[in-house]
């Protein structure tokens, strides 16, 4: 999981399907760095006090099967750590001429 402070461009995700977000790097000390657009974000690895379970609804059980009419969820994954990023205004100038 990546947690981003502030809204950034993730406010309306639907038109962004398939779109590129950013590059994730790690320093040699395992500090995560995320470069999104004009921002460079420094983050940290946080172990969650209470892990998150990702619940996905199971398909509806047909009438004849046992347990019919019951809704069930499967926990697809348990998230125990996240990368938490805070923005640090650091402009990336896009048209710096390439060094010859």
């Amino acid at each position: 999981m990546i947690e981003l402070q502030g809204t950034l461009e993730t406010r309306n995700p639907i038109p962004f399907s398939g779109r590129f977000i950013g590059d994730l790097h790690f320093t040699h000390k395992d500090v995560p760095i995320l470069i999104i657009g004009h921002h460079i974000l420094y983050g940290k690895v946080v172990t969650l006090e209470k892990p998150y379970g990702i619940l996905v609804k199971d398909a509806e059980v047909t009438d004849r099967a046992p347990g019919a009419g019951q809704t069930s969820y499967t926990i697809r994954a348990v998230i125990r750590k996240k990368l938490l990023f805070k923005t640090r205004p650091k402009p990336i100038i896009a048209n710096v001429p390439k060094k010859v």
């Binding site: 990546i2 402070q5 590059d23 209470k50 998150y52 710096v96």
Partner: protein, 416 residues
């Protein structure tokens, strides 16, 4: 994974240059993150997992979310109950299933790219808060059709719904274990696969037959030989009912060995029960109190004394949790009040109690609130918490015996 316009190392390098981040400062693997083509933030839910719940899941236990449409959702493991609440975050939570942490990256000689996808962007999650199960419904369900004997089962008053354990599980917001404990406390019994509570008057009948039999056979002293007792009574009442009554009103005893007096010596290989004086006397008190609800205390005490079986002694301590004694009134009165019908929620419980009576001493109020205690909150903590913000007046009169709260020196609380 279909990604159009895959990012190249050149593109990554130029951004690094602009960002003034040197390749020597970072590990060789870069993860380029994209929104998935099938971005779906509605199809999954995030659930914060308490340790107990996580352990239950890891052990393969059933974890169920229960509640009728009108109830708020409750999550149950096999032994605990949690309230489910929706939490919102202002931050965006991006779910990236295959993301690798820095510590897990194997450093390669040459820079490389891993392509990652964000499957969902979440702004809400569900959190769990441990709570006491909502058990009042259990009692009201079982009281829809109390058991009053086989003969009565067919009659007009006994056509109410009967519930099996699984049916109760679906309707009551609590874990299996907590519900089982509650059923025992309620002295419920399984008859023909259904959980039932015994109709009080029916119970009175069973008890009086049992006591008569004990009297005829001098079993009150010696103990009740269970098989013999069952063989006599099972013509009148179902075996399960008699066993249930013995279990709730008597204690199993092991026969003494090597006694001198052979006459009184119980046979070693027979199971015996001895009626529990406190439980039986309490039962007789309930019989009297249920009829008139409020009594002159001294009249009650003498009637009660006379009603119990010979050889048994009554004591006011046996009335804890079923009767309220008012010693301030003239004459002193006693009224019927059980904890079972009181509100389950703490502030509602206190409101109810203080509407009934203005002043309570600690020993008077304890039986009516101790069912709400948890491992984190005992009676004293509950009182302090509930009265912290209210004006209260402490009386230091001698009142009803030695009841000193260990926080402050008071023995009565008045809500103004």
């Amino acid at each position: 994974m279909e990604i159009v316009n895959k990012r190249t190392l050149d593109e990554i390098d130029s951004v690094l240059e602009f960002a003034k981040l040197g390749r020597d400062e970072i590990k060789s693997v870069t993860q380029s993150i994209y929104f998935s083509e099938q971005l779906d933030s509605e199809g999954i839910k995030l659930l914060e997992l308490d340790t107990a719940v996580l352990t239950a899941l890891e052990n393969g236990e059933r974890v169920i979310i229960r509640g009728d449409k009108e109830d708020s959702a409750v999550l149950c493991t096999e032994s605990e109950t949690f309230e489910v609440k929706l939490g919102e975050v202002s931050n965006a939570l991006l779910i990236v299933p295959d993301m690798t942490l820095g510590s897990e990256l194997t450093d390669t000689l040459l820079p490389s790219i891993q392509y990652q996808q964000v499957n969902s962007v979440m702004h809400t999650f569900y959190e769990l808060r441990k709570m006491k199960p909502r058990l009042q419904k259990l009692r009201s369900l079982l009281e829809e059709n109390p058991y009053a004997g086989q003969a009565a089962e067919g009659d007009v008053d006994h056509q109410g719904t009967k519930y099996t354990f699984n049916e109760l599980l679906n309707l009551v917001q609590g874990s299996e274990r907590e519900i089982k404990i509650a059923l025992e406390k309620m002295q419920a019994i399984v008859i023909d696969g259904y959980w039932r509570v015994l109709d009080f008057d029916f119970l009175v009948q069973v008890m009086s037959h049992l006591l008569q039999l004990c009297d005829e056979n001098s079993w009150l002293d010696q103990g009740i030989p269970i098989q013999e007792c069952l063989s006599v009574l099972q013509d009148i009442f179902p075996r399960t009912v008699i066993e249930h009554v013995l279990k709730n009103f008597a204690d199993k005893i092991t026969p003494a060995t090597g006694k001198d007096d052979d006459e009184k010596h119980m046979q070693i290989d027979i199971d015996y029960y001895r009626l529990n004086e406190d439980k039986v006397c309490r039962f007789f008190a309930e019989q009297i109190l249920k009829h008139a609800r409020k009594f002159n205390l001294s009249q009650f005490l003498s009637t009660w004394e006379k009603s119990v079986p010979d050889g048994m002694k009554t004591s006011v301590s046996q009335l804890e949790g079923i009767a309220l004694i008012d010693r301030d009134s003239n004459p002193e009165v006693i009224s019927y009040m059980t904890v079972d019908t009181l509100p389950e929620e703490i502030s509602e419980r206190f409101n109810h109690l203080f509407r009934i009576r203005e002043k309570w001493s600690l020993p008077e109020i304890t039986p009516y609130i101790k069912d709400l205690t948890t491992d984190k909150m005992d009676v004293t903590a509950m009182l302090t918490k509930s009265f912290k913000n209210t004006q209260y007046w402490f009386s230091s009169g001698n009142g009803l015996g030695d009841c000193f709260c260990n926080l402050k020196d008071f023995d009565a609380i008045v809500l103004i």
